[in-house]
């Protein structure tokens, strides 16, 4: 093994995750290469620092902060619910009443729509006594009359 190959296996060498043959080759190289041997010493100090992690404690007011957050979220939620409630109680009936008023107004306006001869549509409708959907002289009218005579 040369220096480059040995360096690539430093971590696995320290973690004992290499084969016996590889370990023997690395150890052989280290005996004859002071540079790699020194680098492994320095690297080993850093690598073992990886294991030195202490458990950390959260701040003493962790629970209080969490509690406050839950309360705030409930207040926010309830204010949204209040808004929805108000909408259901007042805004929707008001909108329905406004729509009804608009419908009455539009209906009234259309009912009194002025016809070209000065009459209104509602008065014109009074003269429409019979609505005959069978045109005069049509097959349907003749058949209808025959049936009536019988």
């Amino acid at each position: 093994m040369n220096c480059k190959e040995v360096k690539k296996l430093f971590a696995l060498f320290l973690e004992n995750e290499i084969s016996q043959d590889q370990r023997a080759e690395i150890e052989k190289h280290l005996k004859t290469c002071p540079k790699c041997s020194q680098l492994l010493d320095e690297f080993s100090q850093l690598w073992t620092s990886l294991d030195q992690r202490e458990k950390v404690q959260a701040s003493p007011n962790f629970w209080i902060k969490l509690q406050q957050r839950i309360i705030n979220s409930k207040e926010r939620k309830s204010s949204v619910m209040d808004l929805v409630d108000m909408l259901i109680r007042f805004a929707l009936p008001a909108a329905a009443a406004a729509a009804l008023m608009a419908a009455i107004f539009v209906g009234n306006y259309l009912g009194n729509f002025s016809m070209p001869d000065g009459q209104t549509l509602s008065s014109e409708l009074q003269y429409l006594t019979v609505f005959n959907d069978m045109p005069a002289g049509s097959i349907e009218e003749i058949y209808f009359k025959i049936n009536l005579e019988e």
């Binding site: 360096k7 690539k8 430093f10 971590a11 696995l12 973690e15 680098l39 320095e42 690297f43 100090q45 850093l46 690598w47 620092s49 990886l50 294991d51 030195q52 992690r53 202490e54 458990k55 950390v56 404690q57 959260a58 701040s59 962790f62 629970w63 902060k65 969490l66 957050r69 839950i70 979220s73």
Partner: protein
């Protein structure tokens, strides 16, 4: 009280049960977040997020895995999301610094002295170097490495938390070690 009873009580918004739950799992969640994020204040905020999520969504726990597995999963996801957001923030801050003509070292955002619980160690510098090397790992490698190395979880447990296969986790941890080696050797070469 066992985990099932505890979760049922949390679903029913039992305040005392939730307090007991937070007390039992606070250390686990907070340390997982800290080991992933690397900053004690940010880790606390994310840990709060994790418990808040549990309070709101306890009904989503399916009892198919251990409660700790579910909690670790939420902690890992929230922490990785936080890291992604922080990266974006750093990028914008970096651009802002360039525009302001007042450059600031954004790489030190999470490495101020007060953020170092490792300060008690004899060689603080080494701990900081190692911590930064871990922060440079791609997020999945970092998550797998932290869960296995610092949380002391087996490959199988890590795989369950990350919802990956066992071989995938083994590969992630192996690559994490090689990347850490590369970063640390690079540091030694420079210094």
């Amino acid at each position: 009280m066992n985990d099932k009873n505890l979760i049922e009580k949390i679903i029913a918004k039992d305040h005392l049960a939730f307090k007991e739950f937070v007390g039992s799992y606070q250390l686990l969640v907070f340390n997982a977040c800290y080991n992933l994020i690397g900053n004690i204040h940010d880790a606390e905020d994310v840990a709060q997020d994790v418990f808040f999520h549990v309070y709101k969504s306890a009904k989503n726990f399916r009892y198919e895995s251990k409660l700790s597995t579910w909690l670790y999963r939420i902690a890992v996801n929230r922490s990785l999301n936080f890291i992604r957001d922080r990266k974006r923030f750093k990028w914008f801050k970096n651009i802002g610094s360039l525009l302001d003509d007042n450059p600031e070292d954004v790489t030190n955002l999470s490495a101020s002295k007060e953020d170092q619980p490792d300060a008690a160690f004899e060689n603080k510098e080494r701990s900081v170097i190692v911590k930064r090397a871990i922060e440079k790992l791609p997020e999945n490698q970092r998550a797998a490495f932290v869960l296995h190395k610092y949380e002391g979880l087996s490959y199988q447990e890590t795989a369950e938390i990350m919802q990956r296969s066992l071989s995938s986790v083994e590969s992630l941890i192996h690559r994490a070690k090689l990347n850490l080696q590369k970063n640390l050797l690079h540091y030694l070469k420079k210094n």
